[in-house]
């Protein structure tokens, strides 16, 4: 796991068959990175289906969710369509698991991503991370608490740099 307070490494991955997404394109927004072992595996389906329903809670905190696994962009497309997902799935496919390795979220033995979550702040710094046992769906409460923590620290900063013209 990368340390909180460190800069989130840049990456560029396919988010659908003909488009790539760069992490830096999302600067100014909060980002939730959800590394997961595999499309179609039962626990992952539950986890991604759950996050699909909790997107509105993430949105309240201006956070964009990105799912990441080593599956190919075509596999992601089928999985996403089948589950009616409303957030991008990134293909860490070639070189396999390169981004997961950068984020210390790769299982060398299985050749899959670990079930790791990160919440990045609007400046692209790692605010929170969690490594869930592979067989356990971590739910969304940890992510929400981390996002609320970011809201709180933002409010404190707002008070410190109070602008009377606002």
């Amino acid at each position: 796991m990368l340390k909180t307070g460190s800069a989130a490494p840049e990456f560029e991955l396919f988010s659908n068959p003909d488009q790539k997404l760069k992490l830096s394109e999302l600067k100014g927004k909060r980002v939730i990175l959800a590394f997961y072992p595999a499309d179609w595996s039962p626990v992952c389906s539950d986890q991604m289906a759950l996050y699909n329903e909790t997107l509105k809670f993430f949105l309240r905190h201006d956070a964009q969710l990105l799912g990441i696994s080593v599956d190919s962009k075509w596999c992601h497309m089928a999985f996403s369509e089948n589950h009616n997902l409303h957030f991008p799935l990134l293909a860490d496919f070639e070189p396999k698991g390169m981004v997961a390795k950068l984020y210390e979220a790769y299982d060398m033995k299985e050749g899959e991503c670990l079930r790791v979550l990160y919440v990045l702040d609007e400046k692209g710094m790692i605010h929170w991370g969690y490594n869930s046992p592979v067989g356990i769906n971590p739910g969304a409460d940890g992510i929400l608490k981390a996002l609320e923590g970011l809201d709180k620290s933002l409010n404190i900063k707002d008070e410190l740099s109070f602008d009377p013209t606002r």
Partner: protein, 175 residues
Amino acid sequence: MSSHLTPPVSSRDHVQGNKKAPLTLVEFGDYQCIYCGHAYPIIKQVQQKMGNRLKFVFRNFPLSEAHPDAYNAAVAAEAAALQNKFWEMHDTLYEHQEQLDWEHLFLYAKTSGLDLERFKADIEEESVSARVEADFESGVRSGVNGTPSFFINEEKYDGDWGGHDLFDALNRSEK
């Protein structure tokens, strides 16, 4: 991750059984989820076996993207609650999981003995959908990661619940 029921059980909850029971079982459920359907008779059995020792609470956790009728079914049960028929509707829905479109929901409202005019008005009420959403949010906050999710005495129960497992887990918690 988190394992504590947030917010805790209160008078706003749908409670079945002895309100002063030493054991509380909370289920977060989705009326269209087949696993919840499997859990339904198991919970009935557990309630029967434990009698006064158990209080059962149901909260809504409809996964609307995965189950297109789940949200409406939850709304129908909450509308029934306004006529004090929550549990009748809850049971009917789990006994007819494969038919949860509006036409059938109205039919179940009728067979549950509801005033249909009032039911029709209540399903449009914002307070009813707000109730379903508040339950869902409480689930997300409590670490619910799928359905059914159970809490025993307000702590998340991650063990197996099939066969006698839920009954055994409750018995263990009582001691």
